[in-house]
Symmetry: C2
Subunit: 905 residues, 2 copies
């Protein structure tokens, strides 16, 4: 039979800090604080497993459970020398929930348990404070009735209000002992009316009622919702902490507070918190009275403040992290009620981590391990001013979509890219609202403050492009109904037209009516320090996905060590002139006409590449040749057809019929990628020419260029061989003619399952592999990222199908798609052991996926510029975690053991 | 240095019958006939490798080659006792090409080489037949000038014509020696004019010219085209056969002929052929004179005929197959000039194979091994009457598409399924012409004689559905321009409208103008015999893909042992009533409305399943739950919307907007397959209910039902677990309530790459796997079968990219996709060793793929009814070939050795 109750008190606890999964965060903290000699009121913790068993048994206590609880109660009574329900000097306890992780506001607390009509009198005599005793009793009745017995809160709050009104007073503290006593009577009467039985007087009955209440609230709707929203799937239940009551509301020598061992906003190493004199813990949180700053305690209760400062030091030294504390002072004596790692702002996270290293509390590795992706994102993206209250936000919320790119943006609604460009040029801040975006919209997307689309997922066109710029973007906002012809956007009863303001929160996917104030974060000094440590630790290189000189520069600032993916097709949309040239190439119906159009594109691409090589200054640049199906480039409306007709002389009918011909049933699996260059070798020729001529021009000016020419969507060695031969033919001729030294590489994307399976053959030709895990995920899982919005959320939803733990387009499906990645690497390196291998899918900027890339031995990851720091950090964390795992299993080699385990599965 | 020339003559040859790859078919045949004592004029064969080397060396002879040829010429001269070019009794030779496989009409022949102005006189004296001598000389000059030296044929033909006109005669035979001599002079003069040098008189120079001519014609345009069309990629070049001339044109004791050792049309065991008295071989083929039947030779030249009959017996016994022979009789003496395995009609192939077993010439295994897929298809599908001349066909040809389903069909052009149904009901034969077909068109497709579409490939909707019925179908006919609104079809200058006739040849993909006469083949008795032998040999079971009771019955007749794939969604299109019900289900926007619509569908499905179970009578029936995305079912035009609105009461706008909502960017990877049942469990419930209720009803009537319920598009164990649980819940409740005994299985398609990778987990839930290799190919190779027509032909084309040997949608890509199939089987069986495994993609009816399925250990293949015999035969051939391979490598176990070899790769 498992041990179900863990006692703490008298300077010793049965539990430990590392037993959070068994005792909950609060229980483990209380045990640990007891063990290190801090003043914790004695008590005991009922394990999380007991709660899980209770639910598994259909809301019954497991065998032996009740006996064990009562034994521990006995022990508590003997430790405190008091008895629960004693008429003279009763032991009072608090009953609190506590899961393994903090779930704020989710669980209720019951205080002062053990009071009844008799013991309240004993407490009054013993404390010589009847007012305090009856105030405590009425609080208990209130909490027990609502939390344990499910009565609604309002009636009793109303009675209290009525009493104050009757007495003509304003504050609770102005009520007398008699008032409280009278209120206790009213509350009990109300309880009897509602429940059909008197308020329980037996303290043991009260205790069981409270324990059951805590267990039950684990499956209460709001708890379930919270876990769903927060994607908490690994918790089994909550612990119950039964703790001797101490009273901050015993008078002016008493008080209570909540504090952090450092400033959680700035990270500064100062003691930070709020406290109240003559109050119980809940009063601070409830905000009924305005608390005073912690520092004021130094003058008000200097003895207790000193104790608290000592505790602060001990705890930081012990836990080696900033702590969030709850304390109560009873008659100038300090009691610690809770201790947990404190939440902090992104800025504070960096500062605390770095300063703790300088204070020699933690190692650089530990510091690097403490920063998460969200904290990095929090440093770079603007947010809605925190001063805006939750009520305002709630009231302004008009729709929620998929949080594609974090940060916030506000501006006027526009419905076309052209309008966005036009207004932005005049200095207007706009939000571009589209059903979906296409490459044609890129100009307008760039001009907008933020982007909002009705369809698409996190790897849709809008999301990928916006991410590259770190621009706030919400996609898949299905609640929107957009009517381009009327120029309106309807959602939840609101109809917006151009000029109306909205604010987007890309971090949450929320769309708000009106223009909310935004705050742009500042980069703390500690950021650079910590990132340099990460860079020193990691093995993986971090490159960026960038398509323009501007993005490339930005990425270098973010720490990129090269370009892992330069998408050449984005260049075709930069200006009307370029757009028309690519469209002309597409509608051309003879080789000659196509070549003429390509000749127009050549100088544009060459100039862009020169800019990129300059920006990267000797760092490698992987350039992917044209990838999307041609119909993505064609004009989408009559005006576009008209413009193209005018520019090219092709009749509109011909253009339309050519565009129609290009329509595909499944473009993702259609005529795209290197297949275009197999059928139209002249496209390859133009692009290779532009790359190599640019590189040659740079080399001549003394700027080192390292082009890596990449063929997308390859599925067979013979296919790549054709492309490689042609690539080298064009490139070598230019280099030879220019008479400069220039080395370049030719490689391939691995993004079709067959390419991974045939990697041993493909590596005979390819000098490098870049895993395109977006497409690889689509094909390996049979999921179209553009359409998966209809069912994938259900697949990921823990309360629905729960088939996947995370969206596989965000976090790599390591068990399925990951097999092909591993296989591709093993087979590729089997043929060419120095094969350079990277990833350029969206996963390259997601921490968990980056760690996988490290584990399978890639050389680099590549991601959008704003995700580069996330990747740098995750790459470092991968090394740290690998070391930890190796330490944990010193007998075996870690990677081998991992392999074996997987095979066994 | 390799031996480059192989001598034959004097009863002994250096080559053998099994050296076709070195000596060509003709050379190997001549050598073999010499060795077994048949009368072959002596000569020698220049190897194919010499031709390949000649091309590799840039049209130069390899070292030592010339010397070896001249040595063999010497040997020939000493064997025959004559000398090339001798003025008195010259040795004359023929020079013929001969590749490893027959390439009819591809290569030219030069006869009578060795004649010049002097030796022709010697020949005239020696034969006492100047007319013969000069006729021979003029033939040589003609052939050498055109074949070896590239002059055009017409001018000399014209001179001959002119000569006959001048002499007032009709036939060549009416010309005198003097006439021929005069003509020789004219020809030589013409040669000198054109070539600027006299006609070569040196016989050795003539010989080299002829050898070079044969080598050169290997890369001539028509040879290259032929190899491309016939998909011949494994031949390296042609051999050259230099053979002593014998003369069938020496007088009435001489003659020549072509014959088969059995009747190539019926397969009857009679001597069959044509011959001509006093003629040379080419005269028979050229058709200038009408040949007589072989049997007439018995009276005309009885001695020679008897020799020929002896040869026939010896050769059939020696080669154990029907032979195609060329012979010449010179002065009543028989000479054999060629011997090769004879081509035969499908009917003859079966009869010859079966009768040779009865004659104990070959074993049953050998008989089974001799029949190909094309021969089986030739037994079942109508063809265009062979009496229609090639010229007519050429003239009538208006377009060529992809040969989706073999056979021929003729009828009036119609452009809509509705019209097809309407006209067919009146007894009109129609050809349904569509840009593409959708499930809505199924009724019209069934009513039509044949189907012609502008887009799509061999696994497009039209192809798959038509194949199920064995109905002639041509797809991807890109040359067509169809205008539905005008009701016209334009191609190559012809504009057809409804009522115009076309004839389709689905075997070749050709579309002809007008109604050509068709011939329906009859099934020979030997078919059943041979197929029963195949059934006795094979290990693989053969099932069918069938969706209706009618198809199921048909398939059982074709030998199906169960249904491997019953597509439930096809049932939804059978009648307007069903169509409206499924559409109602789709547009329903509440669960209740959806359930109401499903209730309407239930009885239809149940009835169909009852019919199918009856037809299969105890054989297993694998039923796939709904698979296509819902938008495939929605009305495609306003009339359809109107009808649906009328039937359901939903306003047209709502229907349209719902249909629009269902639009997907990549439906193949979208909301389809089991994903529909995850989001709409009520669909699963209805379908399982229909299946199980039907099975229960059958069991009650004493008809054994063996349903295997199959979930499509599964990608994860958890997903299948949800579906399996629900399936069993619904099924078990019905079975329990009915109180009958009924066992059923629950399994899954393996058609997403991830499913194959996770097969070890999925097999924990699935009782059977069915590989859906259509989708698996699409996803593993990143190829949309609907769009691949734009580039895949180029990928398969030997003269273009040559990336794949065959269209991977027709013949399984064993090296890539096959890896996932193998892996899926190994992992699946690793978890559940009795896991039942089959294939239900189109590959299940393609011989090479069936053999792969055998090799990787599947339990069965499933294919459309008309392909069942192909699969039965291929499955038997797989066993035979496996045995042969095992015999060939007796030391090692064949399968293991294969594995090791693959790994090494």
């Amino acid at each position: 039979m498992p041990k179900r109750v863990y006692f703490f008190g008298g300077g010793k606890a049965e539990g430990r800090a590392d037993q959070k999964l068994l005792l909950g965060g609060k229980g483990a903290g209380l045990a640990e604080m007891t063990n290190i000699g801090l003043p914790v009121p004695p008590g005991f913790t009922v394990t999380i497993d007991s709660c899980a068993d209770y639910w598994a048994l259909g809301k019954r206590y497991p065998a032996g459970f009740e006996k064990e609880v009562l034994q521990n109660l006995k022990k508590l009574e003997s430790t405190t020398g008091k008895k629960l329900g004693d008429a003279n000097d009763p032991l009072l306890v608090s009953v609190r929930s506590g899961a393994a992780r903090s779930m704020p506001g989710m669980m209720e607390t019951i205080l002062n348990l053990g009071l009844n009509d008799k013991s309240v009198e004993g407490l009054a005599v013993r404390t010589q404070n009847p007012r305090f005793a009856y105030d405590s009793y009425r609080r208990f009745i209130q909490m027990y009735s609502t939390t344990a017995m499910g009565l609604s809160k309002e009636p009793m709050e109303e009675m209290l209000h009525e009493m104050k009104h009757k007495r003509g007073v304003k504050n609770d503290t102005d009520l007398s002992a008699e008032d409280w006593k009278e209120l206790c009577g009213e509350f009990k009467k109300f309880y009897q009316e509602k429940k059909g039985e008197p308020f329980p007087q037996d303290p043991i009955q009260q205790l069981w009622g409270a324990i059951a209440a805590v267990f039950n609230c684990w499956e209460a709707e709001k708890a379930v919702t919270y876990r769903r929203v927060e994607k908490i799937t690994d918790l089994k239940g909550t612990a119950v902490n039964i703790c001797t009551m101490v009273f901050g509301n015993k008078g002016d020598n008493s008080g209570t507070g909540v504090c952090f061992t450092r400033d959680p906003n700035s990270g500064e190493n100062t003691f930070y918190g709020d406290c109240l004199i003559n109050a119980q813990g809940e009063d601070v949180v409830a905000g009924i009275r305005t608390p005073m700053r912690l520092i004021e305690l130094e003058t008000k209760l200097p003895k207790a403040y000193k104790q608290l400062c000592d505790v602060r030091k001990i705890l930081e030294k012990h836990y080696k992290d900033m702590q969030d504390l709850e304390f109560t002072i009873e008659d100038e004596k300090l009691y610690m009620l809770q201790c947990r790692t404190g939440k902090r702002s992104p800025q504070a996270a960096f500062r605390i981590a770095v300063e703790m290293v300088k204070e020699k509390l933690i190692s650089k590795e530990e510091a690097v391990g403490r920063i998460g992706s969200a904290e990095i994102e929090g440093l770079f993206y603007p947010v809605i001013d925190h001063k805006i209250g939750k009520d305002v936000l709630k009231q302004r919320l008009i729709a929620t979509g998929i949080d594609a790119v974090p940060g916030a943006a506000a501006g006027e609604v526009v419905f076309s890219a052209a309008k966005a460009e036009e207004l932005a040029a005049k200095g207007t801040r706009v939000i571009l609202v589209r059903k979906e975006t296409s490459p044609e919209d890129v100009g307008g997307m760039h001009a907008a403050q933020g982007i909002l689309t009705q369809t698409g997922g996190k790897t849709s066109h809008a999301a990928v492009v916006a991410r590259g710029w770190g621009k706030c973007c919400i996609v898949g906002c299905e609640a929107l109904s957009i009517d381009y012809s009327k120029g309106t956007l309807t959602t939840g009863g609101h109809t917006l037209k151009q000029g109306d303001f909205v604010t987007l929160n890309g971090t949450t996917g929320e769309v708000f009516l009106g223009e909310l104030p935004l705050v742009k974060p500042e980069l703390p000094e500690s950021y650079q320090t910590l990132m340099s440590w990460a860079d020193g630790i990691r093995r993986l290189k971090v490159r960026t996905n960038a398509d323009t000189p501007y993005d490339s520069e930005k990425a270098v600032q973010m720490g990129a060590e090269g370009i892992g993916l330069c998408r050449t097709e984005h260049m075709f949309f930069d200006t009307e002139e370029r757009r028309l040239a690519i469209q002309e190439m597409i509608v051309a119906n003879t080789l000659e006409a196509r070549k003429r159009a390509l000749e127009k594109l050549l100088p544009f691409q060459r100039e862009d590449f020169i800019g990129i090589f300059k920006a990267m200054d000797g760092k490698p640049v992987t350039i992917r040749l044209i990838d999307p199906p041609l119909h993505e480039f064609t004009p989408k409306d009559d005006a576009g057809v008209e413009r193209l007709s005018k520019a090219t002389g092709f009749p509109p009918d011909l253009i339309k019929s050519r565009c129609e011909q290009l329509h595909e049933a499944n473009p993702m699996l259609g005529h795209r990628g290197c297949r275009l260059c197999i059928t139209f070798p002249e496209i390859l020729e133009m692009q290779v020419r532009a790359i190599i001529e640019a590189a040659v021009a740079c080399q001549k000016k003394g700027i080192k260029a390292l082009p890596e020419i990449m063929h997308p969507l390859v599925l067979d060695k013979r296919e790549l061989k054709i492309l490689e031969t042609q690539t080298r033919k064009v490139a070598d001729a230019i280099i030879a003619k220019a008479g400069v030294k220039l080395s370049y590489m030719v490689g391939t994307m691995i993004e079709i399952p067959r390419a991974a399976l045939m990697a041993h053959e493909i590596a005979e030709v390819a000098e490098f592999f870049s895993f395109g895990t977006n497409d690889l995920t689509q094909m390996t899982m049979g999921l179209s990222r553009d359409d998966a919005g209809r069912f994938l959320p259900e697949y990921v939803d823990e309360k629905k199908a729960a088939i996947f733990k995370a969206d596989p387009f965000q976090s790599l499906d390591t068990s399925g798609v990951g097999q092909l990645v591993k296989l591709g690497i093993e087979r590729g390196r089997g043929t060419r052991n120095k094969l350079k291998i990277g990833i350029c899918g969206e996963h390259g900027g997601e921490a968990k996926s980056v760690k996988f890339c490290h584990a399978v031995g890639m050389d680099y990851v590549s991601c959008s510029p704003y995700r580069v720091p996330i990747a740098r950090l995750a790459a470092a964390q991968a090394v740290v975690e690998e070391k930890q795992a190796a330490k944990a299993k010193p007998a075996k080699k870690a990677p081998k053991a991992k392999k074996a385990a997987k095979k066994k599965k």
